[in-house]
Symmetry: C2
Subunit: 219 residues, 2 copies
Amino acid sequence: MSSRNFKHDLFAQFARVGKALSNGNRLELLEYLAQGERNVEELAKVSGLTVGNTSQHLQQLRQAGLVISRKEGLKVIYRLNGDDVTKLFNALRTVAEHYVADVERLVNSYLTVKDDLEPVPRAELLSRARQGLVTVIDVRPPEEYAAGHLPGAVNIPLESLERVLDDIGTDQEIVAYCRGPHCVLAYEAVAQLRKHGFNARRLEDGFPEWKLAGLPVEQ
Amino acid sequence: MSSRNFKHDLFAQFARVGKALSNGNRLELLEYLAQGERNVEELAKVSGLTVGNTSQHLQQLRQAGLVISRKEGLKVIYRLNGDDVTKLFNALRTVAEHYVADVERLVNSYLTVKDDLEPVPRAELLSRARQGLVTVIDVRPPEEYAAGHLPGAVNIPLESLERVLDDIGTDQEIVAYCRGPHCVLAYEAVAQLRKHGFNARRLEDGFPEWKLAGLPVEQ
DNA sequence: GAGTTAATCTAGTATTCTATTGAATAGTAG
DNA sequence: CTACTATTCAATAGAATACTAGATTAACTC
């Protein structure tokens, strides 16, 4: 084999991974899988795709080595194929948000709360939570919370936040988090809480980044 | 705007970056640019594409925020848009080489030298080079060497290695490097040198990774 | 074995996009 | 004006895309 062919073939293989990342629906599936493993039906429901379509996207992700699956009874459960995939996904997101002008425009147009207050760094939250100085709430759906969450975090899905407001003390600061740096759930939770007089902030990024940083996780 | 639309649009934007990474020729261009900035003509020549085609690929990379360009006289000079892009490229490569079975097969079939000897870690090379214990050779083309290289490295492009063998002392260990973890130049240089009785090894990865690690670079 | 459920596979469709070449064009330099 | 570099345009041939809907397989339950 010539050196030129080798190089060509090698980059063609790398491109296969790039191709898997070239579709928004697949990226969305990856973000859900970054929260924890899920079966096809759940992924279809949460992404709004049909089961068949979801299954096909998952095949493509699998062929690119991004996800792996195992069978458990009737269900096939998918998960990310290692931390490298999370890192790749985050690297993609970072580049996009820094350099693709439309992303910034989009984020600013929707997340008007965004610039209100700096998010809480992970290290700070960890130490303050250990001292019992903050209430940490996980505003993701229960299934994602069940698959793993910050130690001591309370699961309050966004839609039930209004109902439980009275049970939350106003003395402590509240820190909310969800799926990642662009997940709207935490933004909206913080906005709602502040409207009701709470002292609330957002954790920087979300659960997958916390886990990737090697910080403690509860299950 | 609904939350659903926001999410959809956001992932669609991320997918644009993925799409830019979905073509082998573009990835090859990125690897060349990771060595240093280059104009269109040079990129076309080294990648074997026509100038027009190269230009179009570069437009796509630019639209995805991966490269930026500036004009200098007649020439338009492209470079990577920050370290994040190098990180993204490396993350893609890592995932591909770990998880795409064909990559491993490909690498093993061509780089038979591969498993011969462990590459030299960056930190080790840095300290040993400072003590003057090793000869470091850069086997990339002169233009890439000129755009930046390891401190004290001698530029010996692979094709001229045979000619200068006599000028190289046999007392010191030789460490060769080139463009990155899958660049064949360093592999072949090491193979040639060993055949002639030299004590030669390869640096882990290549120049872009050295630079990304924040280690000193000479120009 | 019959029935149920979950996921995958297959076929088909309509749409869209792809990479590429070669020529034309624009912009710069001397 | 001429030479040079890069971009753009037009055209082509081909392929790939995402998706739907229905058939099929596999695993479990009764």
